[in-house]
């Protein structure tokens, strides 16, 4: 990914409203199809985007009640697009990613609260995930290679 140029960029701002994550996933699908990503990989990207949006909607407590997404197709200008980079950002209260306990099925089966899987799913489906969070909000940058 180092040295790759941004070949195409789409920005999307969504209200934190029911099923808005599906709108985000449709944009992710369009961008991934544009770079001829395989259907299975596109599905993985869609699901990761859904989870990132849900995290923002459920946990950010952002006063503007908006999720900001940037979809970037990266690659060498002389060749095919190689990487899809998606940033999901909110202007919420932030959190400490390193203090988020990794969920386990054994624990969740007996726990009252069975949720809390979003980050684990995102990490499992995307090639690379970076989280930057602080008092002015959270951004999750997720990348997936085409090939």
């Amino acid at each position: 990914m180092a040295g790759e140029a941004i070949l195409r960029e789409v920005q999307l701002t969504l209200p934190m409203a029911p099923d808005m994550e599906i709108a985000a996933s449709k944009t992710a699908t369009a961008m991934a199809e544009l770079m001829s990503m395989s259907p299975d990989k596109i599905d993985e990207v869609r699901m990761a985007v859904v989870e990132a949006c849900i995290n923002a909607i459920e946990h950010s407590r952002a006063e503007d009640r908006k999720v900001h997404l940037t979809f970037e197709v990266l690659g060498d200008v002389a060749s095919q697009p190689q990487t899809l980079r998606i940033t999901v950002r909110d202007a919420g209260v932030g959190f400490a990613p390193d203090q988020v306990e990794e969920p386990s099925i054994e624990e969740k089966l007996t726990a009252d609260r069975k949720r809390g899987w979003g980050l684990k799913i995102i990490h499992g489906l995307m090639d690379r995930v970076e989280i930057d969070s602080g008092v002015s909000g959270t951004s999750i940058v997720m990348t997936k290679a085409r090939g």
């Binding site: 029911p18 099923d19 808005m20 994550e21 599906i22 709108a23 996933s25 299975d40 599905d43 993985e44 869609r46 699901m47 859904v50 989870e51 849900i54 459920e58 969920p103 386990s104 099925i105 054994e106 969740k108 089966l109 007996t110 069975k114 949720r115 899987w117 979003g118 684990k120 799913i121 499992g124 489906l125």
Partner: protein, 117 residues
Amino acid sequence: MSESLKLQVDSRDGLAVIYTEGYINNQGGEEIARTAYQLIDDGHKVLLLNLGGTKIVNSIGISILIEIIEKMLEIDGKLAFCCLTPTIEKTFHIMGLAQYAGIFEDEPQAETALASG
């Protein structure tokens, strides 16, 4: 924008199959749970969730499926899934669901495995 989930149920030979069509989110998961608990109340202890008509799920919906797995373990029953997209199957493996619920390629495979105990 709402992507509602449609369900159908088919009961035969002690097995109840729940067919889903659409997005399994919070509401969709709750709908599946209501249906599953009704089937359990009716005496079914073996449930198969055929997700062939579902192309996308989210973690809130899956969390509700975990509640159903917990319930099935409590009554010494069995829950299995079939006809998953590769991404949904991968997600179930990431979450560890496959340790507690069978995952099968298609309905005949699931029926055979569930019938053999």
